[in-house]
């Protein structure tokens, strides 16, 4: 791409089911302090601009951008809050730097899902108020319907999905920040309680609280700050039509297009050959398989077989969600995509700890905004 932009600072809290001891501002402040320390920057003098992602409905506060600056050191600076995935925020920050208007941008995303007492009702608010909402069904049914059609058309099985659950929960045991690590056998996953057939309770990533801040800088600034800048090589995002009536239930076309844009901007021709690891949305177990295929790592319908062959294990040819993803780490609402970015960046720096994959140079992070959306964003990072 035209102007080089790199990740120079990473900060995040641990991800936990409940965080009663801190307000969301204090949670974000922790991540921000860590990110600025990591970057070696003073936010009050060195950061030019702030990009955050947040959804008013999940915050419980209208015009939420008003509440963003303090905890990021962003007072009296350019601030913008996007109701999108963390990777949409990253793309916006990337563009601010690539366009030359600023040199250093902090990107923030957080989840205080535990504070939303009626989260399924808030999610239901994303459905069409005239055509869909009057049915008064918990929006998890959308994932059930999507999984059902996906299994029907792709040839993947519930057993394949159970392998994803077991893998990601086991990977999370190696990640101290992850909330829901477990030594779960695929058989146990298969036997778990049904929520929205064919989706069972362990196929659904449980929500967690947490905050993430990533600092981006222009090439010149990045090279002056760190020996290990993580370059944004390509980025892409896409929305399909929202219609529940007319969408392609078996395929994640938004992910295909977001990936295509990211690969085009990064100059990547063969994802499997050129990408060493992937952190991709696994809000539901089948989503990892669907997204794996949509992002071009294998043919449609092959994701489950790839998983069964161990290709996506930490020791495999393409580790997927070595961090534990959302199933093992906890779903962070719109911060989930930025967590994926953090994990890829840590891996490329060689700082992923017990789940470090040796010798990785290029990784992909992909975020999806959850049901009922067809909104995805992808980024390619290289050391």
């Amino acid at each position: 791409m035209s102007q080089e932009v790199a990740i120079v600072g990473i900060g995040y809290t641990s991800f936990r089911p409940l965080t009663p001891e801190v307000s969301y501002k204090e949670l974000v402040y922790e991540a921000a302090v860590k990110a600025y320390e990591d970057a070696g920057l003073d936010p009050r003098s060195d950061v030019d601009s702030i990009v955050s992602v947040a959804e008013d409905f999940t915050e419980g506060t209208s015009i939420f951008d008003e509440y963003v600056p303090d905890q990021l050191g962003g007072m009296l600076k350019p601030n913008v809050t996007i109701p999108g995935d963390g990777i949409h925020g990253l793309a916006t920050a990337y563009m601010q730097i690539a366009s030359g208007i600023v040199d250093v941008v902090a990107v923030e995303a957080h989840s205080k899902a535990s504070n939303v007492l009626t989260l399924p009702r808030i999610t239901a608010y994303a459905m069409d108020p005239v055509l869909n909402r009057p049915l008064r069904a918990n929006p998890v049914f959308i994932a059930g319907m999507e999984m059902n059609r996906y299994l029907y058309t792709s040839g993947a099985t519930r057993e394949h999905c159970a392998l994803v659950v077991a893998k990601n929960k086991r990977n999370a045991l190696l990640n101290p920040a992850a909330a829901f690590g477990a030594a779960l056998e695929p058989d146990q996953a298969l036997d778990s309680e049904m929520v929205a057939y064919p989706l069972s309770v362990v196929d659904i990533s449980p929500h967690a609280d947490g905050a993430i801040v990533v600092v981006l800088a222009s090439a010149e600034v990045a090279q002056s700050l760190t020996d290990v800048p993580i370059w944004i090589r390509g980025i892409g995002w896409c929305n399909d039509s929202p219609s529940l009536e007319n969408r392609a239930w078996g395929r994640a076309i938004y992910a295909e297009e977001a990936g295509r844009m990211a690969y085009r901007t990064a100059g990547i021709r063969n994802a499997m050959d050129e990408i060493d690891l992937a952190e991709i949305d696994d809000a539901y177990s089948y989503k990892e398989l669907q997204h794996l295929e949509a992002l071009g790592f294998c043919e449609y319908g092959r994701g489950g077989f790839l998983t069964a062959d161990g290709v996506t294990e930490i020791e495999g040819a393409l580790p997927v969600n070595a961090s534990g993803g959302s199933i093992g780490g906890g779903h962070l609402l719109d911060a989930s995509g930025l967590r994926a970015v953090v994990e890829v960046a840590l891996q490329l720096r060689g700082e992923a700890g017990a789940h470090q994959i040796p010798g990785v140079e290029t990784g992909l992070a992909f975020g999806w905004r959850g049901v009922p959306s067809t909104s995805g964003a992808a980024v390619i990072l290289s050391s």
Binding site: T19, V22, Y24, N115, V116, V130
Partner: protein, 168 residues
């Protein structure tokens, strides 16, 4: 311009058209409920209010003393240094006489929201509250006021533990 028009073009709709189903529409009642974690700074603020105390925090770098308290100084981007007991007196920084309730009912006696700069803050900063026990015509910027606390057994750890501020 509109005064020259007797009748606008188009079809006029009346409330009865909606009531009698001649115009179709959908309604939806939101179910949005939250329980925000107060956290370190506001948590202590609320528990001190329950005790009948007003507390702020001080930053030793910019030397500000502010209320409501916060865990970190947004100017210096560092943790606040000390908790500070503040008096429950202050000065009206600004106010309004508000003749509509927040659910849009008309009021003959206005609500009087005000920012009260609390004594002992530096530079003087205020908390948002209501004025009471006062003739609206006599309220003025610079008026000295004091908190009227709820009785201890009625306090819950809320800014409503102060009923309002009244002139002193």
């Amino acid at each position: 311009m509109t005064v020259k028009i007797d009748k606008f073009p188009g079809v006029y709709l009346h409330e009865s058209d909606f009531e009698q189903g001649r115009v179709l529409y959908n309604t939806w009642d939101p179910q949005a409920q939250y329980a925000w974690d107060a956290g370190i700074a506001i948590g202590r603020y609320l528990s001190e209010l329950k005790q009948g105390h007003l507390v702020g925090v001080r930053c030793n770098q910019c030397r500000r003393t502010v209320v409501p308290p916060r865990a970190f100084c947004e100017w210096c981007f560092r943790p606040m240094d000390d908790w500070v007991n503040l008096p429950d007196t202050g000065t009206v920084n600004t106010f309004s006489l508000c003749y509509v309730t927040w659910d849009m009912q008309y009021l003959t006696e206005p609500q009087i929201p005000a920012v009260i700069d609390i004594d002992g803050t530096r530079p003087s900063v205020g908390i948002m509250h209501l004025l009471g026990d006062v003739d609206p015509k006599k309220v003025h910027i610079g008026m000295r006021v004091q908190a009227v606390w709820k009785p201890e057994e009625e306090r819950t750890g809320s800014i409503l533990d102060i009923r309002h501020f009244k002139p002193v």
